[in-house]
């Protein structure tokens, strides 16, 4: 039976996210990235979608994506296996397409059959799949087994790849970037010299104390008794604050699954501007930077570039009779005195609470 052409097109239309930014043309998207050179590389569709609204973060994400997909600590097949395990756990079509495109490019193979894996590869698949899906249920023994087969830097590389895939798939799933059907499929890693530097703070006089940040608070008043949108299901209600406090106390006495290197061991591998230099006693950083300094630094560059993308642009000149409104105040509508609410912003307290909610949802007490 021959299907009508419109029926063949329908699934593609249905997959497009109507709220997502439309992908820009390659040259236009490339030109928006900081420090981009005149000869554009082929950009993945997700980068063409985000280049306008978050150009610095997009550039940083391209770099992290490339470092992850070319990391020399693991064989190309193992890298693809890790990415595929994460994509399968997350039901991520684009994540799967990246893994399969790289697998084909590096090894010539068309796919990986998880049920036919054995030995170390099966261990890697099972661990990475579980870490992506239910990280809190991975076991000490799994990591011990991996460390018996692979070096510490290799195991750190695997975990950072799962971490990156878990982040990336959570962008892909709502964004729904189209898997490139032409030009050879998902573009190869984009390793380009883009400008990912942070602006240097203004020099201060010697002896100045560091500025104390203003206490964080929401710009919109809290405590008014809004309609409750919080969770009431047993999964959430099953743990009270005391249980969570106990979880954190227990985590303080926990023996880690991997050696935490000392600062003096990690420091020589760091760039002069590495973000770990700000927090030299953080175990997370010592392990990640100790095993994979370039990937770990690339991740923190993503976070910093995201922050810079979110800084407000210089405001236009304010008319003398304008309202001095906060974020929740309505925005003016030209030609009409009726005002509509303006969009809320992702302020510091929302960011902090979101992180807390995620750690609570996943029982991550670290």
């Amino acid at each position: 039976m021959i299907l009508p052409a419109w029926l063949l097109v329908l699934p593609m239309i249905a997959q497009t996210q109507p709220l997502a930014p439309a992908p820009l043309g390659n040259a236009e998207a490339w030109s928006l990235l900081p420090g981009a050179t005149a000869s554009p590389k082929r950009l993945p569709s997700w980068a063409r979608m985000l280049a306008k609204s978050m150009p610095r973060a997009t550039a940083a994400m391209l770099r992290l994506d490339a470092l992850t997909r070319t990391n020399p600590s693991l064989s190309p097949r193992l890298r693809c296996l890790v990415r595929l395990a994460v994509a399968e756990a997350n039901h991520s079509e684009y994540g799967r397409a990246i893994a399969l495109a790289d697998l084909k490019e590096w090894t010539g193979a068309e796919g990986i059959e998880p049920l036919k894996l054995a030995g170390a590869e099966k261990q890697v698949w099972d661990f990475c799949h579980q870490l992506a899906l239910e990280a809190q249920h991975t076991t000490d023994q799994q990591v011990k087994n991996l460390l018996a087969e692979f070096s510490e830097p290799q195991v750190v590389a695997m975990v950072l790849m799962v971490a990156h895939g878990s982040f990336q798939d959570r962008l892909f799933l709502p964004l729904r970037p189209q898997v490139e059907a032409d030009g050879g499929g998902v573009p190869p890693p984009v390793l380009a010299s883009l400008d990912l530097r942070s602006p240097q703070p203004t020099a201060k006089k010697t002896g100045d104390k560091p500025a104390t940040p203003a206490p964080a608070k929401s710009p919109v008043p809290e405590g008014r008794g809004y309609e409750n949108l919080g969770p009431s299901d047993p999964l959430w209600a099953g743990k009270k604050l005391n249980d969570l406090m106990q979880g954190m106390e227990k985590q303080k006495g926990r023996k880690g699954r991997i050696r935490i290197p000392e600062w003096k061991e990690v420091e020589p591998r760091l760039d002069a501007t590495s973000s770990l230099r700000k927090w030299p006693r953080v175990a997370w950083g010592l392990v990640a930077f100790g095993g994979q300094p370039e990937m770990a630094d690339a991740w923190f560059t993503c976070v910093e570039m995201f922050r810079l993308d979110g800084l407000p642009a210089k405001p236009p000149a304010v008319k003398a009779n304008d309202d001095k409104g906060g974020e929740a105040k309505p925005a003016a509508t030209p030609g009409n005195s009726t005002r509509k609410p303006g969009p809320a912003s992702l302020d510091r307290m929302i960011q902090a609470d979101m992180f807390w909610v995620v750690t609570r949802a996943l029982d991550c007490f670290y």
Binding site: A163, M248, R254, A361, Y366
Partner: protein, 111 residues
């Protein structure tokens, strides 16, 4: 979660304020928070547990409160949390006993 507490302390919240905030979030009664704040938290939880089930309605809600560009910043930040938690959970890192984010930079503090 321990690092969330440390971050809030660095941001200027007192210990009792941090406990109060955690208690409110843990209780599931978020009615003291404005709707856009609650919508972002609800999205973060859903995306954490079953990211493939994030629906058009969830995104419509984000768009309603945060606008067409701001909504993707919420999605990005929520996704960002999963990089951090996967590393912490994979290695079950011991939580530092004091606030390591209040350290002096390494050039001054470390040998």
């Amino acid at each position: 979660m321990g690092h969330c507490e440390m971050g809030l302390a660095v941001a200027g919240l007192k210990q009792e304020e941090i406990r109060g905030r955690e208690g409110m979030l843990a209780s599931g009664d978020w009615s003291s928070l404005p709707p856009h704040h609650q919508v972002a938290l609800r999205f973060a939880r859903k995306q954490a547990l079953e990211p493939w089930k994030v629906s058009q309605a969830d995104l419509d809600q984000l768009n309603r409160y945060f606008g067409p560009e701001g909504m993707w910043r919420v999605v990005w930040w929520s996704a960002r949390c999963h990089f951090m938690t996967r590393v912490a959970d994979a290695f079950q890192l011991p939580l530092e006993k004091d606030n390591v984010f209040q350290d002096e930079p390494a050039s001054k503090a470390a040998p």
